[in-house]
Symmetry: D5
Subunit: 88 residues, 10 copies
């Protein structure tokens, strides 16, 4: 997920969006659906892993992100890897 907030956006609107985004993200971490989030160093971007029931759930989560209008998102469907210790 790359974030591109236009420089001209009102600072108050921007601060509110970022705060709501953070709260939204933390709620989904607590429910277990947003399994991992890392900052891509030097970028206004993150790498996230979601653990959801199906594509409908994934879409609902992303579509409702407060920053969704400013995001470009790339999705790679993941499955368990046979070398993963947890696969035994």
């Amino acid at each position: 997920m790359n974030v591109t907030i236009p420089p001209g956006l009102d600072p108050g609107v921007r601060a509110d969006l970022v705060a709501r985004e953070k709260e939204y993200c933390r709620d989904l971490q607590r429910s277990g659906e947003w399994a991992h989030i890392w900052r891509c160093a030097g970028q206004y971007a993150n790498l996230s892993v979601f653990d959801v029931a199906d594509n409908e759930a994934l879409h609902r989560i992303l579509w409702n992100l407060p920053l969704f209008p400013y995001l470009s998102v790339e999705i790679t469907p993941l499955a368990q890897h046979p070398s993963d210790l947890a696969a035994d």
Copy 2:
């Protein structure tokens, strides 16, 4: 990491490489340096997250992968995200 093993490779050589790759990967999971590995669904590829001391360590791990000559690797440096619950 995308794997491209040429179809003409000797099946015994191939099986040996794949078995050694798996063992190598599991050893590094046990030591904690290979933090996550997922299969990219429908691809001979994986998404991995490493937790290493520095770039020297990361390079040593990847360079010594038994399948390294058949891999193309893209690396994104990651840092802790401020929205990560673990950041509190």
Copy 3:
């Protein structure tokens, strides 16, 4: 899915692969998991839609395609569209 069979492949091996691919595809159509398949006109390629339980099932289907070593695959996760008549 784009298919690239090397021109040097033995014609008998090739014919066998293509026949097994076709049977495999038809079995999955009958089970309902391979929901749609179209030929991309003028290409040795197809556009397919799968209706599967999860990413594990999708990966298992693709990984076991007889032509998998000769395929390059791009996956777009799909969900129901709110304009779809079936969504009412």
Copy 4:
């Protein structure tokens, strides 16, 4: 089809466009020309399959989409696949 509506668009204008787009899409589903529509998960985008008489008909449908000025469209001509059960 990817949709990019500029954030500065008047909300009323936007809501009207989206509503007309939905009705237009549903009318063409009823006539059978808009054969399939799926939401690309996590994207303001869809994957659609059209069943039309010729390229003139396809162009007329797309050009008249209420959201056409905000769309980027990629088209892949499709034909029946020889492995399709319906081809027998």
Copy 5:
């Protein structure tokens, strides 16, 4: 259409393929389905316009090109342009 014939191909086989391709192309010009063909200057490539009944016909023509295994093809569906004098 870009042509990539491997340098190692037997010269007799190559000459036969090229001759059959030329005859095939001319037959379809005579029937009116291969409406235009131009050489892309300095490339082993051509730009062609087909006038066919539907995507099935287009696919059949391209798939049966003698050089098809050595071609990469990009297709742009065309329609009549409103500025075309012939549109009046």
Copy 6:
């Protein structure tokens, strides 16, 4: 040629530009320099073939298009193809 007219352009200015573009295009069809024009289905774009004396003439035609400031243009120099029936 892809056309990108900014949505904010005054409708009267836009209508005038489009009308002048059409007239300009038709004049050059009558003179034989604009040999072919097709609409790319589903795109605000066209595929055109020019029959001009040299690159200077081609540049002059394109540079003076009323819509030139809104166009992105890709040019492929074409020559007669040896398989063209007209080459005999």
Copy 7:
């Protein structure tokens, strides 16, 4: 790092940003973390090498650049090369 400052930015704001960027860069050169900086000839861009403790430090430095909102950054993690004389 590529810099894209919108032409409409107030000249005083711009001059202040550029001056603060320069001072920030020089402070980090003095501390040794910004090891090298070169101008990419003919571009508003630079190639820089950082010598930092970890990805967290790298992210903090880049995120706090006064020009960060106008930058696009690509990062390549570097390690010592075995041919480097300093490696002996």
Copy 8:
């Protein structure tokens, strides 16, 4: 060098920029540093060859172009070719 002047730029400002660009270019042709300039047919772009002492000189010339804020530039370092008659 591709030029992208925003359509909204004041026509007087634009005319002045273009005139100064032309004079600047001609001065450097007279000094021998701007060795060649060609128009890319059908594009607001040119292909230029510079004959300069070093990268510092090249950067100074490009950075001071009146149209620099509206240019995107790609640079290929050139050397004498062994097949060049002038190399004898």
Copy 9:
């Protein structure tokens, strides 16, 4: 023009091709059709400018290059630039 000669090519065949390429290139420089040739520094590639009657001539020159089967070529049609001193 980028040259990619497969490493396995017989050294004698290769030396002969390269020598014939050089002689061919020099003949066309003497006739004035191959106006300029530069080596792209650090690449097995060149940047060339041709001064030919039409696209047919350009195609004939490139198609008959001894190294043509090993070349990838990109062509940009050039015209006189209005800032060129020679345009006065």
Copy 10:
């Protein structure tokens, strides 16, 4: 510089090439022309900075690399940056 040595290359030939490459690189470090070399972590690739008199010298160095036939090279001309402490 990315290195792609075909897996089928004779191990003795390969070892000899790699050893000669290392010695060549170190000689140029001693002469000051090969100013910096870093390993791109996890890649058979390096990032190098050269300090040479002109493009001729740069080309001669790269063209004579023992591994040149297996390299793909991208070059960015660099100049002194105005923020560089060494620029004062």
